[in-house]
């Protein structure tokens, strides 16, 4: 199954957020907070950059 761009973005954001949370934090609570924060930041930056570049694609 070939994922679409949004699915690929979600997989990337989720996987990297969780992996970096485990690499940089030790306590479960800290890991959860870091993973959620990084995941949200990935999505936010992707959506904002996507809209900023949208006029260039037309």
């Amino acid at each position: 199954m070939k994922p679409n761009h949004l699915q690929a973005l979600l997989v990337f954001a989720l996987v990297i957020s969780v992996a970096f949370a485990f690499l940089t934090k030790h306590k479960p609570g800290e890991r959860l907070r870091y993973a959620l924060w990084a995941f949200a930041a990935f999505l936010l930056v992707a959506v904002v950059l996507g809209w900023l570049m949208y006029p260039l694609s037309r």
């Binding site: 070939k2 761009h5 690929a8 690499l23």
Partner: protein, 133 residues
Amino acid sequence: MAENPKQPVSRHPALAAVVALGGWLVPGLGHLLLRQWGRAGVYFFAVGALAFTGLALRGNIFSAASRDAFDILGFLADLGAGVFYFAAKFSAYGDPDVSRAAGDYGTRFFATAGVLNLLCALEAVAIARGKKL
């Protein structure tokens, strides 16, 4: 996760070499040898998910025969994925197609899997040497 971060398992010098090799070859194996079950599972599934998504997006897997500097860097990054690199290289799954954006994304996904695995293997080595909990 049932880990005890206050007690490193071992600091034997030879263990670090075994952990480095194992951690590179099979993502998470280095942590598994150090009995860090949670990290081992997370890193294995993280690297695997990135590698399989990269293949599903029909990304390019670089080979050692490349002569271009960027291709060689791509090969080194891909090689970092260990067993996933060899499985991808020598299986017929995911014929590359970088004529579309998705294929280009797939190439980056697989390279990210390799670099992430190298990072995880380095962390395992640091734990084995007693420099990280």
